[in-house]
């Protein structure tokens, strides 16, 4: 068929696809279907509409798979297809249950909004900022009242050539708001912070085969500290105080990070913070951490309400330091285990609960049970379980002050504890305070 004969069919396709696909592309597809593959124009139209996701009925798809816009997601979809534009893309190597893994994460958008995403099997996938993709069989989750889109082993990301997705500007570039570092939480978008550079480093990395430099470090104000990173050299030096405008917040495992992109502006300002902000520790209510994710150098005070399994005497692989069971390492096979002591506690302050991983040194000083004693006890009883019970006996219902970095996942926040102490509250003084508060308002 020549172009003139194809025109009515082209018009029909264009009516449906005009906002998504270039005219040229539509005509090209139509010619290919009809002239190269010799199928009827009606079948070609169906095929092309399906290819671009514009066919409503889906006889080939399982009933659970459907196409949705970001704005239509409710956080419980188990399998959904979506046509999106990549706004921000980052490939990362992480460790999941001890094994290395490459993931791709970032921000995607469509006409209805934006959402963060993670491609969990990202080793062979490539994504580029600005390109349009089909996310196939994605699943969605709700985190901090925001939608997150995931591509697991069952899903895939396909480049959608010739497709166009318009992301409204307002959802990408929000007004930059002044923020105190201690108040920064995941999902805040653009912020402006003023703080002192506590550390600064350059790292050379390879991105898609090209060498690049990442500038990263830690910046602090009088309320807290946060990690920053930038692809551009803003010339940040340890000890100087700067105002960073138009940085945006992204969370990694619940820890907010300050990303300095192309629109970011840095100016040097006078330091008003005094001497000791490098030691800034942010004391938080656990309920606030549960709501907003984690952070660096956070302090919480609460009661130990649970000692979780995996506490007590454990075996570690001498090669990789993983915790192992019965001398069998999942990476190194049969090994001569190294014994270690640790606790996994749940600390609760009445506003929320955080799980806390406490290393050997801190476990020994909190409980008075040393690794040697624990090994002796386990040997005498022929089992490692009595050690866990012994530790639980000394720790349960104890009031602790814990400091460390807090990450979050689906099971809530988790602190890697770097300082821990048993604390006593001055009950009489606090009771008097409450008394005067009550009396004043009666």
């Amino acid at each position: 068929m020549n172009e003139q004969e194809l025109t009515p069919h082209f018009e029909e396709l264009k009516r449906v696809l005009k906002d998504k696909v270039d005219d040229e592309k539509i005509m090209g597809e139509l010619k290919k279907y009809v002239n190269e593959f010799h199928i009827t124009p009606q079948a070609a139209i169906r095929g092309i509409l399906r290819k671009f996701g514009a066919l409503e009925e889906s006889p080939f798809r399982s009933s659970s798979s459907l196409i949705k816009k970001i704005g239509e997601l409710n956080g419980t979809e188990a399998s959904v297809d979506m046509l999106v534009r990549a706004i921000y893309v980052e490939k990362k190597d992480i460790t999941v249950k001890g094994s290395p893994k490459t993931i791709i994460s970032g921000l995607i958008g469509d006409e209805t909004g934006t959402a963060s995403f993670t491609v969990w099997e990202g080793k062979d996938a490539e994504m580029e900022k600005g390109s349009v993709y089909w996310f196939r069989s994605a699943y969605s989750k709700m985190w901090n009242e925001k939608i997150q889109i995931n591509i697991g082993a069952r899903g895939s990301v396909e480049k959608a050539d010739g497709m166009r997705v318009d992301v409204p500007d307002r959802s990408i570039s929000m007004e930059s708001s002044e923020a105190k570092i201690g108040q920064i939480a995941g999902g805040m978008g653009n912020v402006t912070v003023t703080g002192r550079i506590i550390s600064a480093e350059e790292r050379n990395v390879t991105v898609k085969g090209e060498p690049k430099t990442v500038y990263s470090g830690i910046i602090a104000d009088d309320t807290g500290k946060i990690q920053y990173s930038a692809w551009n050299d803003f010339g940040l030096k340890e000890g100087e105080t700067v105002r960073i405008k138009n940085a945006y917040i992204r969370s990694w495992k619940g820890i907010p990070q300050l990303n300095m992109g192309d629109r970011c502006e840095v100016s040097r300002v006078d330091d008003t913070f005094g001497n000791d902000i490098a030691d800034t520790v942010t004391t938080k209510k656990i309920g606030d951490i549960v709501r907003t994710g984690g952070g660096l150098d956070i302090n919480v005070v609460g009661t130990v309400v649970d000692m979780r399994r995996g506490s007590g005497l454990i075996e570690r692989c001498p090669e990789c330091n993983r915790s192992i069971i019965n001398g069998e390492c999942q990476a190194h096979g049969r090994v001569e285990p190294v014994m270690d002591l640790r606790m996994k506690l749940t600390l609760d302050d009445g506003t929320g609960a955080v799980s806390a991983i406490i290393n050997r040194e801190l476990t020994e000083s909190l409980t008075g049970v040393t690794l040697g004693m624990a090994e002796g006890l386990a040997k005498a009883r022929g089992s490692m379980e009595p050690v866990e019970r012994e530790l639980a006996k000394t720790m349960l219902i104890r009031r602790l002050s814990l400091t460390g970095n807090v990450m979050s996942d689906d099971y809530g926040p988790m602190m890697i504890v770097r300082a821990a102490e048993v604390v006593k509250e001055d009950v009489t003084a606090e009771a008097e305070k409450l008394l005067s508060e009550v009396e004043a308002s009666l």
Binding site: N144, G352, S355, P413, A431, L435
Partner: protein
């Protein structure tokens, strides 16, 4: 998200006068008891005096009941064989004793429609008196904060969840207050303020504390009797929960990883021992099977 439920510090009076319960919005949400002051409680931490204990089960299958006195009221606790550590701990305790308990709250509806609240301990330990004093302080502080918030909410133009959230209440506070006002109406603050008075009198023995209440305000709830059959209903609850968890965690159609089921079950107050027993029952009943040793999968009909 499936973060572990907060252990509320609240007095028995507030907990026991609750009759409303609600399930959270999200699919995996557990059940909460809603108090008249809008606390949404799934788990509590209690420190007080264990004044009574009784094993109404058998030696092999114990079912312990106990009563823990706080300032003016009592918590009723139930410990069965599914909480082996708590059961052996309570067996060894001599009454009276200062104890601290972390546990899940459960409601029971009597034949006449009255609702009773009890606590199923996950942990019960003997403590020193200072732990009790600290607990009384936190419970009093938390009660006072709730009273103030309730007062503020009532003073607002609208007490709908949405309007309260917009007025600066946290999502949970807004939801709890909205539910409480709908179910119970406006609360009478006097028994609560009296509880705070009694708590402060206990903490500050040297001071004269008088908020001007007649001494007989406030009442402690009736004794509750819980049938041993109740544990069957409990188990049904747990079966439903486990099935829900398995379905939810089976994201790739290959079954739900056992270790994750375990973590989530733990977050909902189901111990490893309970999980094992329940999953055996579910397998016997043909509800689930094991595609391999590390996974559980629901059988669809």
């Amino acid at each position: 998200m499936n973060a572990r439920e907060t252990a509320w510090r609240l007095f028995a009076g507030e907990l026991n006068s609750s009759s409303a319960s609600v399930r959270g919005d999200e699919e995996m949400s557990p059940t909460y008891v809603v108090t008249r002051l809008g606390a949404m409680v799934n788990r509590v931490m209690v420190a007080g005096v264990l004044t009574e204990k009784e094993n109404i089960g058998s030696e092999d299958e114990p079912l312990w009941r106990g009563r823990i006195q706080d300032v003016g009221g009592s918590f009723f606790i139930n410990v069965g064989k599914f909480q082996p550590e708590a059961a052996s701990a309570i067996a060894e305790l001599e009454v009276p004793a200062f104890v601290a308990v972390v546990g899940k709250v459960k409601t029971y509806t009597a034949d006449d429609g009255r609702v009773f609240v009890s606590v199923r301990p996950e942990t019960i330990v003997q403590v020193q008196e200072d732990v009790r004093r600290q607990w009384i302080l936190s419970a009093a502080r938390s009660l006072w904060d709730r009273l103030i918030r309730m007062k503020k909410a009532i003073a607002a133009n609208s007490t709908s969840e949405k309007d309260l959230a917009a007025a600066g209440f946290s999502p949970d506070e807004a939801k709890g207050i909205d539910l409480a006002l709908n179910r119970y109406g406006m609360p009478d603050s006097s028994p609560y303020v009296k509880t705070i008075q009694d708590a402060l009198r206990m903490l500050l023995p040297g001071s004269v504390i008088d908020f001007g209440f007649p001494e007989d305000v406030g009442s402690s709830p009736d004794e509750i009797e819980i049938d041993p059959e109740q544990s069957a209903a409990d188990r049904q609850d747990m079966e439903d929960t486990i099935l829900r968890i398995i379905t939810e965690l089976d994201t790739d159609g290959r079954g739900a990883p056992r270790d994750e089921v375990e973590r989530r079950a733990e977050a909902e107050g189901i111990s490893a021992a309970e999980l094992e027993e329940i999953s055996d029952i579910l397998m016997d009943n043909g509800m689930v099977y094991e595609p391999d040793l590390k996974r559980l999968k629901r059988i669809d009909y």
